[in-house]
Structures are given as C-alpha cells and as structure tokens.
C-alpha cells in the first residue's frame, strides 16, 4: 500500500490562489454541465437575456424581472433540499420576514443615500440569521426527515397568521403600518445613488439588469460552493448522515449552515419582491405560497442548481401564462405537474432533458 506522506505533500503543494480554486470549482461532481460547449450555452443564454429588453416592452421586461426575483428562493431550496437532503416547506417564512423588514426599514428611513441597498442587505441578513436560529434548534435537536418539513411549514404558517392579524393602528413599527391581511405598501423601490441623480429601479429594464446580474452571481457562487469540500460534505450527509459523522464531520453544523444560506437566499427573493412591487402581504407566507417553490424545484430537478434555475423560470412562465388564460386552473395544473414529475421523472424534468441532450451530444461525437 502506498499511503501518502500528507505533511510533506502539503508542504510541497503550491498554494493556488483563492480565485483560481474558485474558478476550478465552477465545474465538479455536484453540478451538471461542464466543458466549453456547456459554458457557451450558458453564455448564450445570458447574452439572450441581456438582449431581451431591446425586443420587449417595459411591462414585459418588468414581468421577466419578477420571474427572476423568485429564482433565489428556488436555488436556496435546492441547496437545502436537493443537496443537503432536508425538505424545507417554509422558505416563505424567510421570504416574508425579509420582505417585511425591507418595508419597515425603507418606510422609516427612506431611500436617500442608497439606503434601500443597505435595507436590502439588512433584510437578507436578518432572514439568514433567523434561518440559522431555526436551523440550530432543528438540526442540533436531531430533527430530520419529514419533521423538518413540518417544523418549517409551521413556522411560515405562524408568521402568516400573525401578520394577518396586525390590522389595527397599534400594529406599526415607527411610521410603517403592518396593515394585517392587506399587507404593507408604499415602500420605495431599490434606489441607487448615481451621478446626476438617483437611479430608481422600478420594474423595467434597469431592475431587470440588476436582477440578471444577481442571478448570474448567485448561480456561479453556488456552483463554486457546491463543488467545494462543503458541497461534497452536504451531499455525503444527504446520502448517509451516520457515515458522514463517522468521518469526523459535525453534520448538524453543515446542515445548519446550508439552511441559513438557503434562508438568506429566500430572504433575498423576499426583499427584492417587496422592492419590485412595493408591497408585501401575509399571503406570501401562506400554504399555497409555501408549496410553489417545492413544485418549481422538484420539476426542474432539486439535485442540480442549473436544473433548478432553468426549471423555476420555465415553470413560472407556464404558471403565469395559465394564470392569465385560465386562472382557476393554474394551481391545479401546477399540482398535476408536480405529480407527473414525481411519477415520471423524479430527478426533475430539466435534469432529464439535460441528460438526454448530453447523450445525444455524446453519440454525435462518437
């Protein structure tokens, strides 16, 4: 047997820069897609998205921005559920918390000096910290399996119920009225200080480009994270938590951190949603809202971040089209889509398609 002299090798090994290591982790065993052809396709998709506002009216572009708002919550759920193996049914709790936090902060302080950006960061941070606290009690309390779903669903329903009864004038934080079931409104959109005047990001091309940049950054960042040692351990915990612990990993810590990051991403969606529409209501934390991210992620493919991203955008587009042309059937169709996915392609429809394309490309080369 040739067991390595680890100390000597570690000393000899050239220390690669953080940036080089990060770029190397863009591809890896935990994410589908690699090689020049894959990145050309991704690049073309981003280019097409960047050119889209030139060929669409401002309302449609704002609508596309709305779709992108949700992708952060979906990618966070993929991290928690698909990679770490803990089905959270309550990502909307973090979504709503950050949404309300953004509203309260910006209504009280306003949008001058770029404060909306600070409010966005604070809201996301608050959602992340709250997720860490919930995650701490769940995972350090050895809650697992279906009980994670029950606890998280309970949290979001408690939030919804609480916020729905904050209708009276006594329910205010500073000058921000919570407004009960009708929700908060009147908060400013994201506003960026800009030479010659502030750049106000109303739903339209400017917000669209900011969101597109955020989606690309989060997507690439998550690919790097998932292909790093952290991602490997998350997947190992999903596959066999007992064995992972017996390799020296504190699995509770890893699960809690993944849950915290997923909660922060849901919070990013919530704060951006509030900034996009300038309103937030308790129903955004209700049962229907809590179920939808699960459908997006399951249909796309929960165990792959690329499939989750594109699957979410696809399902949201279909859902909104159905809502416009047959609103009473849209949710039924979503339920049917989930059922079909679970029965026909439990890995996810986008994963199935990506594997099919991969096989075709492989055959073409041979």
């Amino acid at each position: 047997m040739n067991v390595t002299d680890t100390g000597a090798r570690a000393a000899e090994a050239p220390r690669r820069s953080f940036l080089r290591r990060s770029i190397a982790h863009l591809e890896g065993p935990q994410t589908m897609g690699s090689g020049g052809a894959f990145w050309v396709v991704i690049g073309l998709a981003v280019l097409a998205a960047a050119l889209y506002p030139a060929f669409a009216d401002a309302w449609t572009v704002g609508n596309a921005a709305y779709f992108m708002v949700w992708t952060f919550m979906a990618m966070g759920l993929s991290l928690i559920w698909g990679y770490a193996g803990a089905l959270s049914f309550g990502q909307t709790a973090f979504f709503g918390l950050a949404g309300y936090a953004y509203g309260v902060l910006t209504i009280n302080i306003g949008s001058a000096y770029g404060f909306t950006i600070i409010a966005l960061l604070l809201s996301v941070g608050l959602a992340g910290i709250f997720a860490l606290v919930i995650g701490y009690f769940m995972f350090y309390g050895r809650i697992s399996g279906v009980f994670v779903g029950i606890v998280t669903l309970s949290v979001t329903l408690v939030f919804e119920t609480f916020m729905a009864q904050t209708a009276g004038p006594q329910w205010r934080i500073g000058s921000a009225r919570l407004n009960g079931f009708n929700g908060m409104s009147g908060m400013p959109p994201l506003t960026i200080p800009w030479p010659g005047g502030e750049l106000v990001l109303y739903p339209g091309p400017s917000l669209y480009y900011v969101l597109l940049a955020l989606v690309v950054i989060c997507y690439l960042g998550l690919r790097i994270l998932l292909n790093s040692g952290f991602g490997n351990v998350l997947v190992a915990i999903r596959e066999n938590p007992h064995r992972a612990e017996m390799l020296g990993y504190d699995i509770r810590l890893y699960q809690m951190l993944a849950f915290g990051l997923g909660g922060a991403l849901a919070g990013l969606s919530g704060a951006l949603y509030t900034a996009w529409g300038q309103y937030i209501t308790p129903s955004s934390m209700g049962l229907t809202s809590a179920a939808l991210p699960i459908i997006w992620v399951a249909v796309g493919g929960r165990r792959d971040i690329t499939a989750t991203l594109f699957g979410t955008l696809l399902v949201l587009t279909v859902f909104q089209t159905l809502t416009i042309y047959g609103s009473q059937y849209a949710l039924v169709a979503m339920g049917a889509l989930l059922l079909v996915t679970v029965l026909v392609a439990p890995q996810g429809l986008v994963v199935l398609a990506m594997k099919g394309i991969g096989k075709l490309v492989g055959r073409g080369r041979s």
Partner: protein
C-alpha cells in the same frame, strides 16, 4: 506499551437488556486485537459506546490518555479513530472517487488530497472504477472502498466491525495481509470478527465478550484452548 484505548467500568443497558456490564478493557498502542463472542454478546454495542453513538450509563473511556466519554462521535473521530462498519458505510450515489474525497478532505487538501485518493484507488484495486457510483460496485468492492475510506488518513485507532463479511477466501486473506501492513505502520487495530481463521491470521490477542462482560482474554492459542470459550462460542457456535 501504554494504552491507546482504556475502558473503565463501562455499563450500558437498554431496558432489561444489558449490553455492557462493567467492562474494563485496555488496548495497548500498536496492538492488533480481536473481539469475539456469540451473537448478542455486546460486541457491536461496545463499538458504539467507543464511538459515542450510545452514552454509557456508567464508566468512562480514555483515548490516548484523554477522557472522551463526553465527546460527540465526530469529535472522537477527529482525535484519530476510524471505523469500518459491517454493512458497507459508503455513499452509494456518489462516485468511488467522491467517496474517497469526502473521507479524506477533512484532513487533506489540494495535491495531498488528490495524491491520497489516487493511492487509495490503487490500494483498493478500484482505479478503474473511480467514476462508478459506489452503489454499483460488488459487495466485496464496497467493503474494500470502505476500508480505503477508513485507512487513507492513517488513523491512530482503526475499529473494524466484521471487516471480511461477504468477502471471498482470497479477499479475506488479502484483507488480513493489509491489516498486518497497516499495523506495521503503527496503526492500532481493534476488530470484531466471527471468522476464527481470520482471527488466527491477524490477532495478537483476543477478548471474548459474553452477555456484555469480558469472559476471557489472551492469545489466540489460549482462547482456543479455553474450555469455557469452547462451550459458549467455539464448540457450539450458532454463527
């Protein structure tokens, strides 16, 4: 030799079933020791107590002079204990290479990690299966993969729960040779085993557990000749 592992008065009961009944046990540094005994003797429970999967009702455990009984499982592992389970404890949906990377990456990084993974692929004779999902390997290959996962970072103490279960005679012999090799490198080994031929091949000393207590302890020759052991285990084995 000083004791690497020392168990003092260890007691554990599940309801009316006592799986450890005041066990006192010392494992010297560098030893290669086997635990044998009939089914239900408490061998696997003894491992679980050492690993921290069960908290003892009484007694304590020292590893390298440090009391570890209050530590969680992963903390004990980080102190240099490694384990191979009877049922292969691998990550079936991950590739063979990923299994090894996860097993070593807590201790190794970069080139050290890549080099050790490569060495362990060769060691386990799995270098042609690096990209294969571990769940698609044969039972014997899964056993070897887990052994490679357990020994790649050279633990101070290697716990093996029936390491040759499901292996062919040739694989069993090779496993014995491999354990001698590891022991020669300074790794202390404690194995639960039923195959007495294998025990004869590897063990410096043998401990017989019976109803959660140490029934006998000695060299393999002393254990085989022990009339009580003959009666409870060797002569009338139900394995």
């Amino acid at each position: 030799m000083t004791a690497l592992l020392e168990v003092v008065g260890l007691r554990k009961a599940f309801g009316g079933v006592t799986v450890a009944d005041g066990i006192d046990f010392q494992l010297p540094t560098g030893a290669m020791h086997c635990l044998i005994g009939p089914n239900g003797a408490g061998k696997s429970s003894f491992f679980r107590l050492i690993l921290g999967e069960h908290a003892p009702d009484a007694g304590t455990i020292y590893f390298a002079g440090e009391e570890i009984v209050a530590l969680r499982s992963f903390e004990r592992i980080r102190r240099g204990i490694s384990v191979k389970f009877q049922v292969p404890g691998i990550f079936k949906e991950l590739s063979v290479r990923q299994n090894l990377e996860v097993a070593f990456q807590y201790h190794l990084h970069g080139h050290s990690l890549a080099g050790t993974v490569k060495a362990m692929l060769e060691f386990a004779n799995l270098d042609g299966e690096a990209a294969t999902p571990a769940g698609a390997l044969s039972h014997g290959q899964q056993q070897w993969l887990e052994i490679a996962m357990a020994v790649g970072v050279e633990p101070r103490l290697l716990l093996l729960d029936e390491p040759t279960a499901g292996m062919s005679p040739d694989e069993t012999r090779k496993t014995g040779e491999m354990l001698h090799d590891l022991n020669g490198r300074g790794i202390t080994i404690l194995a639960v085993e039923h195959d007495m031929a294998f025990v004869e091949q590897i063990a410096h000393r043998v401990t017989v557990l019976h109803f959660g207590s140490i029934f006998a302890e000695g060299s393999i020759a002393e254990i085989i000749d022990h009339p009580g052991v003959q009666e409870i285990y060797l002569g009338a084995s139900d394995e």
